[in-house]
């Protein structure tokens, strides 16, 4: 018999970026809020204190801060006919664990989508007709517009403290920013980070090529900053241990540095670490959640009653919890019906590594998000009809995390060991820069998430199963970027360079790290037959469950997700405060 706790108004499942935001907003509304976080409690001091963070093996290679597959993982397969096998050790993506979630150990590349990315299907239909959309491509509109979200992008950027240069202030194009971005109501809260050598080389070359370079918007503070919650950031010192590490310097925006210090002071907020939610409990007709069942730090099963359940457990875990709890109809790729698990998508990236004998890059000097970008080949800049694909990328020259175990690119043909390897290492380390493309990934009928029939976790629950592979449309997109990057690479005049892009025979490889930008599976939209959530991230089926995170994306953006994830959390919170609380029930009538 599970123990039952006293009820709370709101239970937050997970305490990463999204639920830290929700905690702030819902305590503001006077509610009594409890967060349950499966991992350890963590804070800058003592957990990320210098010097212990500067340990590449422990954090960068053995993933000390991330989810341990032994405790939590999923299975993966390429196609519906295959048997999925477990993601036994981490590789392609690195979900977070512990207070702060992946917001502790992200890099901080912080983007807004281009406006048309949020209404992609309509945009395509209006400009080229529905015929150019391949039959198996299941892209949709988000159901919320850029203009509606603008105030929330703006606020998230102020809370997180982003360093950057606006390219479009209220419709006026600004010198030095991204001329292809959507309008913004104000400048970034901090100026861009200082520029590294690779940034300068790339920016000069790109301008010569007629492109429009600008500094990557960074969740790494470029100066001392106080956010709207009174939380303080100090200037990033380019420590070189950013992605996969907690910030030792109060400079990287994270739930800890930007929100939790303020939130923990509120006496209508509480959190419990080492408390893993097993499922959301529903009442007998399945239309209302009654609370959640979790395993407490002592291993006891506990029922936590709550009036409102907010899933902010990271995209993959949100979908897993919905499938395990019976919230919404599971998606069936055969019939195309059902919604939970539908439209899982990822990120289509590629890149070039450039070797210069006589240039010194000092790759260990780098902020998480220092880099120079061009967005001239973005989603809105490409003529899909003419190019024969749907999508786009931003192109970046980033110098970050130059630690030697995991960041030792060598020219093609260099030996993997022996004396020749040593020579190649000596010749290459410090003399290398990269140009990458970070691109969209569309949604497809047979790329989805469901429950695995063969594998279980320690609690006996089925693991979630991911069915995913690369598709020709997205390969055409990345091959287009390859040509662009080839030209840009040559223009920099390296002694040697090496291109690495997916091709038509590429299958999804779970081994090398790609991105932790897993999206979809609990998508938002305007129609309950094609989306799991309405435009306010509310479950269509269980009205007191709201689902945060990139699981809401109907297909993936060209950008890193967190700018949109943060804005959507504030957008959803406003709807809860202003519409749901006065009148609990579905916010959109089906």
């Amino acid at each position: 018999m599970a123990k039952t706790n006293p009820p709370v108004d709101v239970v937050l499942v997970g305490l990463g970026w999204t639920n830290s935001i929700m905690g702030m907003e819902l305590t503001d509304a006077g509610l009594n809020v409890l967060a349950l976080e499966r991992g350890d409690d963590r804070d800058t001091v003592p957990d990320f204190a210098y010097p212990k963070m500067a340990d590449e093996l422990t954090y960068g290679v053995r993933y000390k801060l991330m989810q341990r597959p032994a405790k939590s993982t999923l299975t993966i397969r390429h196609g519906v006919g295959d048997m999925a096998v477990p993601y036994r050790s981490l590789g392609s993506f690195l979900p977070g664990d512990g207070v702060g979630g992946a917001g502790v150990h992200w890099n901080g590349h912080t983007w807004r989508p281009q406006p048309q990315e949020l209404r992609l299907r309509s945009y395509i239909e209006e400009n080229w007709g529905a015929d150019i959309i391949p039959d198996d491509m299941t892209i949709q509109d988000y159901g919320v517009s850029y203009d509606e979200l603008e105030p929330f992008f703006d606020y998230f950027e102020k809370v997180a403290g982003i360093s950057g240069k606006a390219g479009n202030l209220n419709g006026e194009i600004q010198e030095g920013g991204n001329p292809f971005e959507g309008w913004r109501s104000s400048e970034y809260p901090m100026p861009p980070l200082a520029r590294t050598y690779n940034d300068a080389l790339f920016a000069d070359m790109a301008r010569d090529q007629g492109l429009h370079p600008f500094p990557l918007p960074a969740a790494n503070a470029s100066e001392a900053y106080t956010n709207p919650y009174g939380m303080q950031l100090g200037p990033c010192n380019f420590c070189g241990f950013c992605e996969r590490y907690g910030c030792l310097n109060y400079s990287k925006s994270s739930p800890q540095t930007c929100i939790l210090g303020a939130l923990k002071r509120r006496n209508n907020f509480a959190y419990r670490a080492n408390s893993e939610v097993l499922r959301v409990e529903l009442d007998s007709d399945g239309k209302r959640a009654t609370g959640v069942t979790y395993i407490d730090a002592d291993g006891n099963e506990v029922f936590q009653p709550a009036d409102l359940v907010i899933l902010g457990a990271y995209s993959l875990h949100n979908v897993h919890l919905m499938l395990l709890s019976g919230i919404g109809t599971p998606y069936d790729p055969e019939s195309g019906e059902g919604v939970v698990g539908k439209n899982y998508a990822y990120q289509m990236n590629g890149g070039s590594t450039l070797f210069f004998k006589d240039k010194e890059f000092n790759p260990f000097i780098g902020a998480g998000a220092n880099g120079e970008i061009v967005n001239d080949f973005g989603v809105e800049q490409i003529d899909f009809g003419q190019e024969g694909f749907i999508g786009g990328s931003y192109i970046n020259a980033a110098m970050t995390n130059g630690q030697p175990i995991r960041n030792m690119p060598l020219p093609a043909g260099a030996p993997a060991w022996g004396r020749g390897w040593k020579q190649a290492v000596q010749a290459s380390y410090g003399h290398t820069m990269t140009i990458g493309s970070h691109g969209s990934n569309m949604a497809y009928r047979d790329c989805y998430l469901d429950l695995d029939p063969n594998y279980t976790d320690d609690h006996g629950r089925p693991l979630m199963r991911m069915t995913f592979d690369w598709k020709p449309n997205d390969v055409r997109m990345t091959q287009f970027m390859k040509q662009k990057i080839d030209t840009l690479s040559k223009a920099l005049g390296p002694d040697d360079y090496r291109l690495s892009f997916k091709d038509f025979d590429s299958r999804y490889d779970v081994r090398p790290y790609q991105t932790t930008h897993n999206v979809g599976g609990a998508i938002m939209g305007t129609d309950p037959s094609t989306s799991a959530l309405n435009r306010y991230l509310q479950s269509w089926d269980v009205h007191n469950v709201f689902v945060m995170g990139a699981s809401a994306f109907p297909q993936n953006l060209q950008y890193n997700p967190t700018g949109l994830v943060g804005a959507l959390a504030y957008w959803s919170a406003k709807a809860i405060r202003e519409q749901y609380l006065p009148n609990p029930g579905p916010l959109v009538q089906a």
Partner: protein
């Protein structure tokens, strides 16, 4: 609220308010004396490997990162000590990995590690099988072979030209190579990279972690040597 992390939170709040954010982590103040000097490889008693396995490991590491040419080799940098410690730690035991069955055969390598064997078991079986192979093929132990022949054996493992009954030669070689490079470049606190010699060789400053004044000094080699987590300076 009377939650279990209440007192910890109160403690943390106190800790936070007493440390001005900007002074933390900026400017490395490593005044603490360096730890114990690193072990001598020749005196080291391995915890996991037996004497024959240890001899094999030393010989193999010596080929993967040899001492000749510029830069230190795996043996001068105590890489085998690092590997022995890894075998005893969570890596060797795959403690963080999902290791439940079923383990189907013929899974695409793109799906990552799919064997029920722990890395330490792969080492044990892989070393035994490679030694047997050398005795069968060349009439001598791996350790007694000419270095060119040792390289040939390692290449055959790498290229999957040798297959073993009870262990994947590919997994064995992949772990051995990965761990050798890790031991070479990881902080000395983990047993290898003795005196940060591998960092000095490539110009990586280790745990310094504070470079603000260096960001815009473009195309200029960073002049300072490395520091380690225990405060050793190179």
């Amino acid at each position: 609220m009377s939650l279990e992390n209440e007192s910890r939170r109160r403690f943390m709040k106190g800790a936070l308010t007493s440390i001005p954010a900007v002074t933390l982590g900026s400017g490395v103040s490593l005044t603490a004396p360096a730890d114990e000097p690193p072990e001598q490889l020749s005196d080291y008693q391995p915890a996991f490997f037996d004497a024959d396995e240890w001899a094999f490991l030393l010989a193999a590491c010596d080929r993967l990162i040899p001492s000749d040419g510029d830069g230190p080799g795996a043996l001068e940098t105590n890489v085998p000590i690092f590997i022995d410690r890894q075998m005893e730690g969570s890596f060797g035991h795959a403690a963080d990995w999902y290791m439940k069955g079923p383990f189907p055969d013929d899974v695409s390598p793109l799906m990552g590690y799919q064997s029920p064997m722990l890395p330490r078991e792969v080492y044990r079986a892989g070393i035994a099988a490679t030694r047997d192979y050398c005795v069968r093929e060349y009439g001598e132990e791996f350790t007694a072979l000419e270095s060119t022949v040792q390289d040939e054996v390692l290449e055959k493992l790498e290229q999957q030209e040798i297959t073993f009954e009870n262990v994947s030669a590919l997994h064995f070689f992949a772990f051995l190579l990965q761990n050798t490079k890790e031991g070479y470049f990881a902080d000395p606190i983990h047993g290898g990279n003795k005196h940060m010699a591998a960092w000095q060789f490539i110009g990586f400053p280790g745990a310094r972690g504070a470079y603000l004044e260096w960001v815009d000094q473009h195309n200029t080699k960073y002049p300072l040597g490395p520091v380690s987590l225990t405060g050793e300076r190179g």
